[in-house]
Symmetry: C2
Subunit: 129 residues, 2 copies
């Protein structure tokens, strides 16, 4: 469900937060849905439970998650359950900018980049299936 890369430089708890935000904004995690338990996630990704808890706690402070004593973390009941396409595209923008910067510095033609991107998306689609 999540992709955590400890060597990326980006703090793990931040990676997790961003991915939860995305899953909620796309509706893959709907209001009321339960999140993976802190210990499960920590075990699965070989990470300290407190690192996961930190992400959950911050997301609760943002109002995206709700806490129930003794039970799993839930997606909060929100006024905006699912963002429209343009809002989600806005969330994608940072990743796009980074890719464009890299492509420019590598002097790769737009067509080459587009083709590589299409390949990667097709492969991901296949792997998910």
């Amino acid at each position: 469900m999540f992709t955590l890369n400890p060597a990326s430089g980006v703090p793990i708890y931040r990676q997790l937060m961003e991915q939860v935000r995305r899953l909620i904004s796309s509706g893959q995690l709907r209001p009321g849905a339960a999140l993976p338990s802190v210990r499960d996630l920590a075990l699965a990704h070989a990470v300290n439970p407190m690192t996961i808890s930190k992400a959950y706690g911050l997301l609760e402070a943002e109002g995206l998650l709700e806490r129930q004593r003794g039970k799993a973390m839930l997606v909060a009941a929100q006024p905006k359950p699912r963002e429209n396409r343009s809002e989600r595209l806005a969330r994608l923008q940072p990743a796009i900018e980074q890719l464009v910067t890299a492509a420019r510095q590598l002097e790769l033609a737009p067509d080459d980049v587009a083709q590589a991107l299409r390949r990667a998306m097709e492969k991901r689609e296949k792997d998910d299936a």
Copy 2:
């Protein structure tokens, strides 16, 4: 020349290193070319000079840069002056993977992503000109 974002989570010196690697692998920085001075870069990006120096030092350890006492850092004379397209595409892969991951979690269609990418690349091209 460089794009350093202190808030991205990725250490500044790592961002710089990666971008120097890309500019060399594309030939935009050729063997013998001088790099921006530590103090200039530090001033331009509001960063401590030692942070830039750290990046330069590590790149020298990698063999990408050469040091001349009292003079600016140079791009080393390398056996491989410029990488071919497939090698440069390989360097682009991490940025692509990250974009694909984000797109999946945002439930954005490949066509939407491709279109957003093309727009961003065209805009960058225009801004550069």
